[in-house]
């Protein structure tokens, strides 16, 4: 479904160049739940943003359903984000002075969907996240966990094929984090492909596949210890074991 070939991304300022992605090769199949892990600054969020077309890439190719999106116009990329991709952000990114209904409806409006269909989808999404009774509330009237559930409802209301979640539980306590993870698993079980950036090894283990990124490179075999914020490759581990 998703196919990245030798993707590179360089951030440039006047003084320095930062190679955030150094040649990522990754394939994600339909219905997978992939956890992207790695130390801070390793490039996992950049990779997620490239996958979500929030960032452009400098080299390589990105194919979605076998079609390269390289060179697509702003309109094509907007349509892609609107119709096929759902986003869940660490900071929820809800518009504070919009009601829950208006927040969730937002991406559907840009699709030009009829009002009745938008209402049906929003109600359905709110039902799924357990907030149907609060659709006229504003985000400030909800807890952090509830806000993230609204963000999830917004992401799934458009029935996307891919859900990209950037540390979706990063701002939540453990109870709320567990509820959000259960919700994501439920959505994945319905056939939606999920890629999730996380620092939490417990959450990463709940995914169907873990992908680790180190210094802008994929390291499927790396062993990442989030407590030590360090990486040892298999080779290093073996050498250590021999020693």
């Amino acid at each position: 479904m998703l196919e990245l070939s030798n993707i590179t991304k360089i951030f440039r300022t006047e003084l320095i160049e930062t190679h955030a992605l150094r040649g990522i090769n990754l394939t994600v199949n339909e219905g997978e739940f992939v956890a992207l892990t790695g130390p801070s600054g390793s490039g996992k969020s950049t990779l997620l943003n490239v996958l979500g077309t929030l960032e452009s890439f400098d080299g390589g190719d990105y194919k979605l359903d076998g079609t390269s999106i390289k060179g697509w116009s702003d309109r094509q990329l907007s349509n892609l984000r609107n119709e096929k991709i759902g986003f869940i952000f660490q900071g929820f990114n809800l518009i504070k002075d919009y009601s829950l209904f208006d927040n969730i409806e937002l991406p559907l409006r840009y699709r030009g969907m009829a009002a009745s269909e938008r209402k049906r989808r929003v109600d359905q999404a709110l039902e799924l996240v357990g907030l149907a009774a609060r659709k006229d509330y504003h985000p400030s009237q909800l807890s952090g966990g509830q806000q993230q559930r609204v963000a999830i409802a917004r992401a799934i209301a458009g029935q996307p094929r891919i859900l990209l979640a950037d540390e979706p539980t990063g701002n939540l306590d453990s109870l709320m984090a567990r509820q959000v993870m259960e919700l994501l698993e439920q959505i994945n079980a319905q056939g939606c492909t999920i890629l999730m950036v996380t620092h939490d090894p417990d959450q990463a283990r709940r995914a169907s596949r873990q992908v680790q990124i180190v210094d802008g490179l994929l390291n499927d075999a790396a062993l990442y210890d989030p407590l030590q914020q360090s990486v040892r490759t298999n080779t290093q581990s073996q050498q250590a074991d021999v020693a």
Binding site: R75, R81, N82
Partner: protein, 432 residues
Amino acid sequence: MEQFLYYLKASLISIRRAPLPYLITVLILSLGLGMFFANATFYYQLNRDPLPHKSAQLFFPQMNLVPFVAGGSKPIQVLSYSNVQKLAASSIPTAQAAMYSTDSYVRLDASQPALPVKLRATQRDFFSMFDVPLLHGAIWPDNSARDEVVIGQLLAEKLFGHSDVVGKTLLIDDRIFTISAVVVRWQMLPRLYDANNRNHTSETEQLFMPLETAYDMNYMSATMSRTLDDTDYRQLSTQGRTGALHQLQFWVQLDTPAQQQAYRDFMLQLAQSEKAAGRHPSAVNNQLPAMRDIVQYFAADSGDIKAYALVTLLFLLVCLFNASHLSLNRYLSNQYEFSLRRALGASRWQLQQQMWVDVLLLTAITVLLSLPIALAGISLMNYLWPDHVLFSQWDLSLLLTLVLLALGCSYVVTLYPAIRASFGGLNQQLKE
């Protein structure tokens, strides 16, 4: 429509989020537009073409027919009676009329107090050349002297209490005149047939008398007369028709380029023959400005209005700059929302549609606020330049111009900030 209302709601929510910067932006813009529009009203009215369909066909012949060597680049602004007679001998023009303005007194009978009036002594074609609309009656059949006058509706109502007064009589300087026609309330703005006297910003006359009759009554011009010999012109009826008293304006209607060229040739021949006859020693200097260019030709435009136009334009530019700056800050503080909308699938084009609704809303509010400011500005200008009161009126085209101007300014104020905000880095904004 539904999407428009949605964008409108989004704009209103955005304003409610930070009302003070928006209010200041609107006030600054309205102040600049209001002051500019106050001046633009005068500038527009003073420079408008009152007869756009024929202002390029009405001409004001100017000749150097004076009995001495005349200096200067332009001939004297008025002609003598005898010179007009020579010009009027031509059959080239479609219409032609000599005229001047004077002051007189009018009343219905000797028992009433005399009412001072501005009087235009003119000829038959004046009314057709300048599209003077008649309410009742008919204009004199020829240019000969007669005790008949044409009066304005306003004066008719003032004297008789109604306007249907054709055939009635009145006293002008105690001489009995019959009213042959009544002119509808008519104000040619600007009154370009009097631009040579720089008198085109005043009201139209309410009384029109045959030129020959005015000469018979010894009426001198009240605006411009030049005596170029030592004749006593108090006896205008006799000496005024033969001597070098220059006080007449003369207009001709030349509809085609061929007519215009033929008339120029006629003027040249006349000047040469007059010079050959020894009636004027100066070099031939004929001018034939069209009514369309007459204010510029006589440099009769208002310097005050021009200077004020420049000042208010600069003020508007300063206001635009400051409003843009405030608007930029407002949009940048909303950049997060732009980025979020783009992340959720809005294209740049859809964000620009949102911006257009912002522009329309800003335009509507700005127009509503700038109108009272413009009215205040006009009151101030009427106080400073009372001569220009006639030019402080709004018409539909002027109001539409204000709306377009406000739209343009709102677009300028909104465009750059909106583009900056919609082109921001999505990821960075969402993280912040």
